[in-house]
C-alpha cells in the first residue's frame, strides 16, 4: 500500500488504487469491480451512480469492510478498512432502515452507543440531539412499524450519526421512498452535511439526486464494474431544490446521463 501524497491541502479519507473484486461463483468468476482508482478527500460529498450490476454498492461495501477486495489497495483514514471498521470510523446507512422491531426509535438510535459502551446519560443526550437533527423529536417511544418509511429511514440516519463518525456511507438510502419524500430528505441531508462537514459517500441510481447532492459524481459501468467518468460539480455548497432548473445543474446532469448511456452501450 502506498498512500498517495495529497495534491491539495484536503486530507484524504478514502484512497483506492487498482482495486478489484472477483466473486467465485458456480458459473465461473464474476468481476464485480476492476481497476478502481479513487481518492476521496475530507468533507467531500461523493456519489456513485451507475446501472444495476455496476458494482456501486459492492464498492461501498468494500470501503465498509463488508466485502474483501481480491486485488489492489484501499485505505480508509489511512488504515485498512478492517482496522477502520474496528475503530468505528464510519456510519453506514443501508437501503432499508433495518431498525430492530423490538426496540423503540430511541432505543434503536441507542444501539451503536450501547455497543460502544457509552454511559446512560451520554446515550440519552445523543439520542435527543440526533432525533432533533433528523426532525424526529417526539417519536422516541414509538416502535418502527408505527412510523412511515421516510421516518424510519430518517431514524436509521440518526442511528448512523449518533456516534458521530466523520465518514458517512449511504447505500441508496432513499431508493424505496416516493419522489416528494426523497426531495425533502435530500435537502435535509445536504443541510446536515453542510452543518457537520462530514465526508459522505452516497450510492444512488437517480441522476437528479446525484447531481443535487454531490461535490463529485463517480459514474460506474458494469461487466466488469469500473469507473467510467468522474464529474466535478461546481454548484455552490449552499443549494436548494430550485437549483435543479438551472443551466449549470442540467449541464452536469447531461454529462452524467451521457456517461451512463456510454457505459451501457456495449451491453447488447
Amino acid at each position: 500500500m502506498q498512500p498517495q501524497p495529497a495534491e491539495e491541502t484536503v486530507r484524504s479519507v478514502i484512497d483506492i488504487a487498482k482495486l478489484s473484486l472477483t466473486f467465485e461463483t458456480n458459473d465461473g468468476p464474476v468481476h464485480a469491480l476492476a481497476d478502481i482508482d479513487l481518492d476521496i478527500g475530507e468533507g467531500e460529498f461523493v456519489s456513485f451512480i451507475g446501472p444495476s450490476g455496476c458494482g456501486k454498492t459492492t464498492l461501498l461495501r468494500v470501503i465498509a469492510d463488508l466485502e474483501k477486495p481480491t486485488g489492489g489497495s484501499i485505505s480508509v483514514n489511512g488504515m485498512t478498512p478492517d482496522e477502520a471498521r474496528l475503530k468505528r470510523a464510519y456510519g453506514y446507512v443501508f437501503q432499508a432502515a433495518a431498525l430492530y422491531p423490538w426496540r423503540t426509535i430511541a432505543d434503536n438510535i441507542a444501539l451503536p452507543l450501547e455497543i460502544m459502551g457509552m454511559s446512560r446519560a451520554e446515550r440519552s443526550e445523543r439520542i435527543a440531539r440526533n432525533m432533533e437533527l433528523v426532525n424526529l423529536a417526539g417519536f422516541e417511544r414509538k416502535y418502527p412499524w408505527q412510523l412511515s418509511g421516510g421516518m424510519q429511514q430518517r431514524a436509521s440516519i440518526a442511528r448512523a450519526l449518533s456516534f458521530d463518525p466523520d465518514l458517512l456511507l449511504m447505500d441508496e438510502p432513499f431508493g424505496a421512498l416516493d419522489e416528494i419524500v426523497r426531495d425533502h430528505l435530500n435537502e435535509q441531508l445536504l443541510k446536515l452535511w453542510d452543518k457537520t462537514n462530514k465526508t459522505v459517500v452516497f450510492v444512488t441510481h437517480s441522476i437528479p439526486e446525484a447531481v443535487f447532492l454531490s461535490t463529485r459524481i463517480v459514474v460506474l459501468c458494469p461487466r466488469p464494474g469500473r469507473i467510467y467518468d468522474v464529474i466535478e460539480s461546481d454548484l455552490p455548497r449552499d443549494r436548494t431544490l430550485d437549483i435543479r432548473e438551472s443551466p449549470e445543474f442540467l449541464k452536469i446532469a447531461h454529462r452524467v446521463r451521457e456517461g451512463l448511456r456510454a457505459g451501457h452501450s456495449y451491453d447488447d
Binding site: R88, Y92, F94, A98, Y100, W102, L111, I115
Partner: protein, 306 residues
C-alpha cells in the same frame, strides 16, 4: 353506480352461533362425545350379552341394553359420563393429600414435568447457541440431537432410571431427566432457526459497529428468536408431560398420573385409566395455554405484537 335500496341480509337462525369460536368448538365436542358414546355401546355390548346369557335373561329391550353397556364396572370403553363422575370424585371430593386424589397425582407428575421442562429448555437454548456460533458444533452435534429422538423413549426411560438409581439418584430427578430428554429437542431445533432468523442487513449493521459475537447474540439474535422460542416451548412442554408420565411407568412409582395409569391397567380399572388420561390431556392443554399467555405478554412488551 346503482342506487337500489338494499334489502337487509337474511340471517340464518344459526348464523350467530357459528360466527364466533364457541359455536364451532361446541359442535366438534358434541360430535366427539356422540362418537364416544356410540363406540362405548358397541364395544361393551358383547360382554353385556354374556352377562344376560349367564343370568338367563332374554328379550332385553334395546334401551335396557344401552343403559347397561354405559354403566359397567370395568367396561372395555367407559362412557364419557362415567369418566366425568370418576374425575369429579377423585378431584373435588377427595382431599388433595389422599392417595386416590387425582390432584395429588397430577401435582407429582406436574413437578417433574416442570423441572424437566426447565432443564430441557435451558439445554435446548444452550445447544442452539453453540450450534449457531460454531461450525464444528453444527456439523457434529446436530446429527446426535436428531438421532437422540429416534430412540423410543419407552426403551430408554427404564435405562435412565436404573442407571441413576445405581449411582444413588432417585426421586424427582430421574423422571425430570426423561422430560428433559424429550423437551430439549424442539427447543434446540426452534432456537437454531430463531437465532439464524436475523436478516443479513441486520447482521451487517452489527458488523459495521464492530460488535462482538456476544453483543450480537444479546442485542440481535436472542430478541429475534423470541417468537421461535415460544413456539418450540409449546411443543416442548407437552413432550415434557409425556416424558414425566412415561418415566413413572417403568419405575413402579406409587404416585403420579403414570402410576395411576399403570395401577388402572393392573386391575382392569378402565374408568381410572381414562380419567387419568383425560386429566393428563387437560394438564397439557393448561400448560400450553400458559406458555401462549406468556408469549402474548412478552411479545407485546417487545413491541412485536401489533
Amino acid at each position: 353506480m346503482t342506487s337500489e335500496t338494499l334489502s337487509p341480509p337474511v340471517r340464518s337462525p344459526f348464523a350467530g352461533l357459528m360466527s364466533g369460536t364457541a359455536g364451532p368448538v361446541l359442535v366438534v365436542v358434541a360430535a366427539l362425545l356422540a362418537v364416544w358414546y356410540l363406540a362405548a355401546v358397541m364395544l361393551n355390548t358383547p360382554f353385556q350379552r354374556d352377562i344376560y346369557k349367564r343370568g338367563g335373561l332374554e328379550d332385553v329391550s334395546l334401551v335396557q341394553l344401552m343403559t347397561d353397556t354405559l354403566a359397567q364396572d370395568r367396561p372395555v370403553l367407559p362412557s364419557p359420563h362415567q369418566v366425568a363422575v370418576e374425575i369429579w370424585e377423585t378431584t373435588a371430593e377427595k382431599k388433595i393429600t389422599s392417595k386416590r386424589s387425582l390432584v395429588y397425582h397430577s401435582s407429582i407428575t406436574l413437578s417433574s414435568t416442570l423441572l424437566g421442562f426447565l432443564m430441557g429448555t435451558t439445554l435446548g437454548i444452550l445447544l442452539a447457541i453453540g450450534i449457531v456460533h460454531s461450525r464444528v458444533l453444527d456439523k457434529s452435534l446436530m446429527p446426535w440431537v436428531i438421532a437422540s429422538q429416534t430412540i423410543p423413549i419407552l426403551a430408554i426411560a427404564p435405562m435412565i432410571i436404573v442407571v441413576l438409581n445405581a449411582i444413588g439418584v432417585s426421586g424427582l430427578l430421574p423422571k425430570a431427566l426423561i422430560s428433559t430428554y424429550l423437551s430439549f429437542f424442539p427447543v434446540t431445533v426452534g432456537m437454531v432457526k430463531g437465532l439464524r432468523s436475523p436478516e443479513i442487513i441486520q447482521l451487517d449493521l452489527m458488523k459495521t459497529y464492530s460488535a462482538s459475537a456476544s453483543q450480537t447474540l444479546w442485542k440481535l439474535r436472542l430478541p429475534s428468536a423470541a417468537p421461535y422460542l415460544f413456539a418450540s416451548m409449546k411443543v416442548g412442554v407437552a413432550a415434557s408431560l409425556v416424558g414425566a408420565i412415561v418415566g413413572e411407568l417403568p419405575t413402579g412409582a406409587v404416585a403420579g398420573l403414570g402410576a395411576r395409569l399403570l395401577a388402572g391397567s393392573y386391575y382392569g380399572q378402565t374408568v381410572q385409566i381414562w380419567s387419568a388420561l383425560i386429566v393428563a390431556a387437560i394438564l397439557a392443554a393448561g400448560l400450553v395455554s400458559l406458555i401462549g399467555l406468556g408469549e402474548r405478554i412478552v411479545l407485546k412488551r417487545m413491541g412485536m405484537a401489533r
